[in-house]
């Protein structure tokens, strides 16, 4: 794996376009899985995933070969993905789609329930968990998804989030705690009582 990562950064340093195709091949599904679980929507994950790589490419163009060689691709991409998602959330909060605009009239027809892809990816017992995940506060959600869905190490996460390892650990642990509370309210109450 380390060997592969080294090969990838080496290719990025020597030939950007070639290295970038490899970057997309290796990391596209992790980036998309992250955005899918954080946003809870397949279509949004597709769009934001493309934005993430577009931003990554324009950033790489400005980097020197040495800087590209030293890159930790996964943590770096996750930083971008998390930022892209945060920006997206912020803009959609500030510019809510108004139902009165004529060209948005079709929006009233949009079915908010999970589409076929979401349903296939979240069969019966998963649905509850996916829903619980979207109820987490933003920071905890990002941390839980990075740690447990994507399987990143705490140090990589700390680098991606730009904060100390302890902070990340706390976010994950609080996120998991909240998830457990949402999933089994009775158990949480019991736990509080006995603790």
């Amino acid at each position: 794996m380390d060997d592969m990562a080294e090969q990838l950064t080496e290719r990025l340093a020597s030939d950007l376009d070639d290295g970038f195709t490899e970057l997309v091949r290796v990391h596209a599904s992790a980036v998309r899985a992250f955005l899918f679980r954080v946003s809870g929507s397949a279509a949004e994950a597709d769009d934001l995933g493309q934005d993430t790589f577009l931003r990554a490419y324009s950033a790489l163009q400005t980097y020197s070969p040495e800087r590209r060689r030293k890159l930790k691709p996964r943590a770096w991409l996750m930083t971008i993905a998390a930022n892209v998602w945060r920006n997206h959330v912020r803009t959609s909060v500030r510019h809510p789609v108004s139902a009165t605009r004529a060209e948005d009239a079709c929006d009233t027809w949009v079915d908010e329930s999970p589409g076929p892809e979401e349903r296939a990816a979240t069969s019966a017992d998963r649905t509850v968990l996916v829903k619980a995940l979207t109820e987490l506060p933003e920071k905890h959600r990002v941390a839980v998804v990075m740690r447990h869905v994507i399987g990143m190490s705490y140090s990589d996460m700390a680098e991606a989030q730009g904060c100390p390892v302890g902070t990340v650990k706390a976010q994950v642990s609080r996120g998991i705690g909240t998830l457990r509370e949402i999933l089994t309210p009775e158990a949480a109450v019991l736990g509080e009582v006995t603790r």
């Binding site: 070639d18 195709t21 899985a33 790589f53 968990l129 994507i150 158990a187």
Partner: protein
């Protein structure tokens, strides 16, 4: 009380984490490709590949915009990731998953006629290319010995270099190496395991039992006493000869001496 409660909670903790790990859904087949198109990477900087079904099982096929550049039967690789890695190791090009296969690939697989499919054999020597081109001219459902390949490709008939060239076949199934045999009629599966070759041959309806039986009878070639023409036993014309009219020959010379001429379709000797 307190202690027992903790014990009960622990397995649940593992479950929750497992359930979260299961949520890592794979991206749709075209996602990486769409990303590259959106970013505007030129199409000739990478190959795409798709996974197709064929009579002999699944097949990974990678292609550039103009030609097929590599393939692997499902049983030759453990998963798509290994195919991608092997493809890069061999060609130096990244293979990106796509859902639309190379034009003409599906019919080629369905009919077994892949002769006209453009295949890129870059990176191979002239001799290897010549051998693999000769292999492509073996019709579906038929077998040819190595000496036949040497003659068709106008190469010296030494077996060693030809088998080495066959072993380098980068496009199994589409360049039908499974249709090549040694002189004795034993299949020469140089590029993959024998069971892969067996699966490919039986999918094309090649009856290896009948051929073994013929070899036991000493029939390297099969002649017809009505037409006085001799063929390779798997040639479409040889398969039509009814049993009472079959005349087995060990060598082309023996057939010639008996007054038979070589078939012009399967060319058992220079016609």
């Amino acid at each position: 009380m307190n202690y027992r409660n903790d014990e009960e909670e622990r397995p649940a903790e593992g479950q929750l984490e497992h359930a979260l790990a299961d949520l890592a859904a794979p991206a749709p087949a075209d996602f990486a490709l769409r990303v590259l198109q959106r970013v505007g990477i030129s199409r000739d900087r990478y190959d795409t590949y798709s996974h197709l079904d064929s009579a002999a099982g699944g097949l990974f096929v990678a292609y550039s915009p103009d030609a097929v550049t590599g393939s692997a039967v499902d049983t030759m690789v453990t998963d798509a990731d290994e195919f991608e890695r092997l493809h890069h190791a061999r060609t130096g090009r990244t293979a990106i998953r796509a859902s639309a296969p190379f034009p003409g690939l599906r019919p080629a697989l369905r009919t077994g006629r892949a002769k006209r499919l453009p295949i890129d054999l870059g990176g191979l020597t002239d001799l290897e290319c010549a051998v693999l081109h000769a292999v492509r001219s073996i019709p579906s459902g038929q077998l040819r010995p190595i000496t036949w390949l040497a003659r068709e490709a106008s190469l010296p008939s030494a077996t060693g270099p030809i088998v080495e060239a066959l072993a380098k076949n980068p496009v199994p199934m589409l360049i039908p190496c499974h249709r090549v045999t040694y002189e004795g009629g034993m299949p020469c599966d140089a590029a993959y395991a024998e069971r892969v070759g067996d699966a490919l041959r039986s999918a094309e309806g090649i009856d290896m039992h009948r051929l073994e039986e013929l070899t036991l009878r000493g029939a390297v070639f099969l002649g017809s006493d009505t037409t006085r023409i001799y063929c390779h036993p798997t040639c479409a014309h040889a398969r039509r000869i009814t049993r009472p009219h079959q005349v087995p020959f060990r060598t082309a010379g023996a057939a010639r001496q008996a007054g038979y001429r070589a078939c012009k379709s399967c060319r058992p000797a220079t016609v």
